[in-house]
Structure formats: C-alpha cells, structure tokens
Subunit: 405 residues, 2 copies
Amino acid sequence: METLETYYQQRFAARTRRIQASTIREMLKLTTQPGFISFAGGLPAADLFPIERMAQVTQRILLEHGAQALQYSTTEGYLPLREWIAQRMPGASPENVQVVSGSQQGLDLIGKVLIDPGSPVLVEAPTYLGALSAFNPYEPQYIAVDMDDQGLCLDALEAALKQQAPRFLYVMPTFQNPSGRLMGLQRRQAIVELARKYQTPILEDDAYAELYFNGQPLPTLYALDHALGGGNVIYLSTTSKTLAPGLRVAWVVGPKPVIQKIVYAKQGADLHSPTLNQMLVYELVREGEWYRAQIDKIRQTYQTRSRWMLAALQKYMPPEVRWIVPEGGMFFWLSLPEAVDSLELLQRAVAEKTAFVPGQPFYADGSGKHTLRLSFSSATQAQIEEGIRRLGRAVHQMLGREPVA
Amino acid sequence: METLETYYQQRFAARTRRIQASTIREMLKLTTQPGFISFAGGLPAADLFPIERMAQVTQRILLEHGAQALQYSTTEGYLPLREWIAQRMPGASPENVQVVSGSQQGLDLIGKVLIDPGSPVLVEAPTYLGALSAFNPYEPQYIAVDMDDQGLCLDALEAALKQQAPRFLYVMPTFQNPSGRLMGLQRRQAIVELARKYQTPILEDDAYAELYFNGQPLPTLYALDHALGGGNVIYLSTTSKTLAPGLRVAWVVGPKPVIQKIVYAKQGADLHSPTLNQMLVYELVREGEWYRAQIDKIRQTYQTRSRWMLAALQKYMPPEVRWIVPEGGMFFWLSLPEAVDSLELLQRAVAEKTAFVPGQPFYADGSGKHTLRLSFSSATQAQIEEGIRRLGRAVHQMLGREPVA
C-alpha cells in the first residue's frame, strides 16, 4: 500500500481536495502561549455567561423532564422554542422555524439545499469567513459585491443581480462580522426591494442582532420583506452571542418550502440538535425580563470595551490607519495603508505576542490584503491598552516609522 | 411572484430536488396517538438514562468549569474525551479522533469528504436507512451487497470490489440496524482482508458495539485491520446507546489524512459539537466501573425485552414468518411471506394501533418489500404482548387466515 496520504488523496471528493490548510489558522494556534494578547477570536465574553442560572435550570430540566431532554427528538426542534422564535418574526409560525446547531449549521444546510456546483451566490465584500467555509463544499461561484459605510452598494448590487441569476444574496446587515457595519434603514429597504425585483432570495444572517450599544434596533430584512408580501428572505439567528456559544443553539426562519428541504437535509446531517440544549435555551429566553437584562449587560460591557479599543487605536495607530467605529457587535475593522499587507503584519504582531485576523480570507474575491479584524468582546482594559500598543508598534515598523510608545 | 413552492423549486440544488416526503414518515406520525403501541422508533430505553448522575455532573461542570463548557471550543472536540476514545482503539492517538454530533453527523461528514456524484459506494442489503439519508445528498451510486446470517456474502462482496472502484464499503458488523445481525469473526477477518486486497476503505459503524447480551465482544474491523498494518478502516461509534442519544455525542476514528479533511468539513458544518455535552459525556465514561455497570444494566434489560418479543412472535406469528434472534442490539428483523408487502401491512397495523418500520427503505436497491424491523428496546412486557398480538392479527388477515388470538 502506498502512503496513507496518497491512498486517500485519490479517494477524496473533488469538493474536499480544494481545501487547503490555512496559514492563518496555523499562526493563530500560537496565541494560546502565555503572555499573548489575542484580538483574533470572535469570542463572546465568558465572564457574562449566566452560569449559575444555567446550572439551576439544567438541574431542573434533567430532574423534571430528563427522559425527554435526553431522548431522540424531532428534527425540526423543540416545539416551545420554535414557538418562541416564530412569535418574534412577523408572519411566522413554528412550521417556518428549524432549530440548528449554531448559525454555522444553518449556513451549511442552506448551502446544501440551494447551491449547485457553479451556482452564482452574491456575498458582501468582505463577508463572514465561516459562511464561505460552509458554502465552499457545494462549489458556488461567488460574486463579491462592494460595500460602503451603509452596507452593500446599490449600483454594484443591481448590476450583479441583473447579470447573474444568483441562487441567493448572503448579507449580515447588523454589525457584520468582520466589518462591524450596521446597514442603514434606507439601504435595507432598497436591498429588499431590489432582491424582490430580480427574484433573488436573501439569506439574512442576524447573529449580532441583539448587540446594539444604543438606540432602537432597525427592522430586519425579513420584516421589511414581510411588509412587501414576504417569502423572499431566509433568516438566521442564534443565542451564541446572548447566552453562550458552547450550547450551539440557533435557528433558521424561512418560507415553508425552504424549511421543509432544510428539515430533510438536517435529518441526514445529524438527526436533530441536542434536546437538553434546546430545552435549556428555551427556559432561559422565555423569562423575558431576565433575558432582556442579560442582553443589556452584554451591550453595556461590549460598548465599554469598544470605547477602550477606540481610545487605544487613536493613541497608538498612525493616522493613515482607518476604522469603522462600531455601534454594536464585537469587532473593529481596520484599513491599513495599501502598502501594508496584513498577513505580514500578523507575523510581526505574533512576534510581539499579539494577534488579529487578517482581512483577506473574508473576501470571496481574494482582495482586502490591507484590512484586518480586531475583536474587543473578551478583552480587559489592560489587555486592550497593551495589545493595541504592541500592534501599533508593529504597524509603525512596517511603515518604517518610530512608534508612538 | 409565482407561488413560493414554484419559486424555490427552481432554486433548489439538484441534490435536494430528488428528496421526496416519505409516506412511512407520514404514517408513523400517527403513532403518538393514545393507545398506540409502536415498535417503529429505534429509541434507547429512557428508563435507563442515568438522569440523576447527569444532573449532578452537569451541575459540577457548570459551576467549576462553566466558562469553558459554554464557550466556543476546538472543532476536533474536547481533548480528554478524544484521549479516552483513542485509548480504546488500537494504535490510535487523539489526532485520529474527531468528536461529532451523533454518528449521523459522522456519516454526513464522511459522505462529504469521500463521495463525488456517481461514486460507487458499497452498502449491505439491508443497510442503515440513516446512512443512505446522509450519503444521498452527495449523490453516490450504491451497490447493495447481499447478506447471509453471518453478514456480507464474501462472493458477492468480492465481485463488487472487483468490478467497481468503490470509494468505501459501509458496514455495521455488530447488531446491525435494521437486521440485528452479528457478523462472525471469520467473516470479519475475511472482509478486512478483501477490502485491503482491493484497496477499498471500510467505514465501520459500531453504534451498537456495547449491546452484547452475552459473551465476549468480537474484535472490531478497525482492530483487525490494525493487526494487518492499519489505515483502511474509518470507525464510528457513539454514546447514544449507552448514555443518552439526546446529548448527540459520537466520534469518528480514522487515518490522519481522513480526520484532517473531516475536521475542515465539520468546521464548515457547525464549528464544533456542544462543549458542555462533550464534557458531560467524558465525566461519565471516565468512571470506568460506573460506566461498565450502566452498560450491563442496559444489556440485561434489552436481553429481557428481546426474550419477551421472541416469545410473543412465536405465539402470534404464522409459521411462514421468519426472524433473526438477536444476540444483542435493539431490533428484530422479520421476513414475511413474499406475498405480504410490509408497507400494506403497516397500513393494517396502524389501523390496529401498532407500528413498525417497513424494510424496503433499508435497501439501497429498493428490494426488501416483505421485510420489517421491530424495536424492543423501549417496550414493556405488556406492550410487547399486546402489540405483537395486534401485528400477528394483521399478518394473518393479509394471508387470509384466522389469527391465533
């Protein structure tokens, strides 16, 4: 027998042969070393996980409904949770709701159901890296649509919709991962209308929906589409950013024909999401007042941390570096001078024991070499101050300048 | 806009358009009605779930390691659990282990990694229905290999291996779902050797590994292959049948090149399995003595229930009906007279308020019309007596005979 590597290489599916080990992933493995300050991971703040309440509630579920919580259950998900989700989405009933194991699984199942090899799929530039990982095995042809401060550029979007017949348009209108952008109301309305005009469904990823620092949430694309007759938006959200990501409880809300296909796809993919986890999440979110307070605590904490990061960026970055000041979410998105490649910068940053995620992997078209994502959600004030100081020093070095401090 | 059904029908991926609603699934939805005795679901006995211990252990994990249990974690899975799994598999290290959300997810990810449209895949006739659901979206060309009482027929297997270049051979050698068959040691050895000779990897699904009623477990195909040099078996097992299925904790053990691809596939599919669930399973299985006692309790209970079912079958079935007496697992597999279509029988059975799963969906080649699967794992003695009596009556009716009772 030849080497195992060669033996299996000949047996892997074409969709898999394309996957390469990621340099960035390898580099970021170093960030667990002592003394490292990493802004790379998009980790919700673990100090805000409602651990004691979860321990209490889990105990109660197991002792009172253990047989149900531990048994196989329906693919669609725990009905009371689906009812709670449906109530929050205009015009939805539980038949429009599929519970999934994290938004990531929603993306995978939607890719499985809607993408043929070569299917055009419109994505934002930049877009969520994990969505590309989810869709890639189904071999779409991505069309990356430019963005401005308000989100997708309408001219570019209309041109793409006109030329192609995309299977769908994937957007994250609220505090986008990676750019932190909040799409304005007019832009939302225009995009929903364009998608209807060109008969292209929208996949709205609303993972950061609840993380507004201030002000009233804007309507979802799902709600705006519903007001125009509905049926053209498939909606994804999660409790990963409001309760805890380790439970892996999220959901897809969409038109019944799509949800039916997703149910079959999910049945083949993992039968159902863990029953106990779904019941736990339901018992937490149904306590409206408590859940609201939990979310408020997260919002305030992230707002404070984002301000610390803003202050540190202003203090330590050279004036050519630009960023979007986030109004919510977990990220700062930086544009470096065109001369600075963020992958090279990461090497220097890692030498300084700090890290971020380079922007290029978030671009389906391979652009974005001079961009990067910083996460503030899990960092202390001291870590932000020191980590951004180190990063600023690395940027100054790459520009051949003396650092600020 | 046309109807939503038509609108999306034009946008679904080809792999999805083939999926049809299942008549059987619809019929079995009726089995939740009061008075129904169903042997259809392959449900582990909920009365044996170690609920109180799980409640205690979960409480401890959350209060002592809550931040870890609720945070994002690595795609590969919880390291102590992977170490525990690796220790039980000859020659394996944690790098050979991927934790998955139920064996079902293992099947899906392996399909994603190894099946191209049209790839030949060898399966047993009958085979696990859920494996077909997992593989179907990747559009393999199934080759169903005949079985005798010892498992796959060697001549048929060799002929198939010779003619095709299958991507893999999928087998469940221990208490197969649906047939309950236990593949003998000689047959195991021969199959492992044939697969190596024809350079076809084996996918060994060992979900029922621990459910021997008596006697010493036979070596796994993985172990037999390891003794010949290893690298040709990808192995799947789970805690769904020993602890509880609702937790969705299972694993794939395989050659590193395959596991690496599975890691990438899983990262795109759902990032990782729930951290809390993995930690809970680890804390339970690491208590070797307790875990052994838990499994013994399940074995004894299932053996008792299988004997009740055997007695009822002997009492109520006409002599033409044949079955395999299981030496473990959760199922009886019945062969009816060729004249009796088990889908028609199901309609009569449902009218009598009892149910089973018709055998045909377990055959990749659409044969098996006169077979059916009965699960005894969750039934009481009274349910078995009365349910099999009803079923016997329906069989007698279809044969135009007077029932026994």
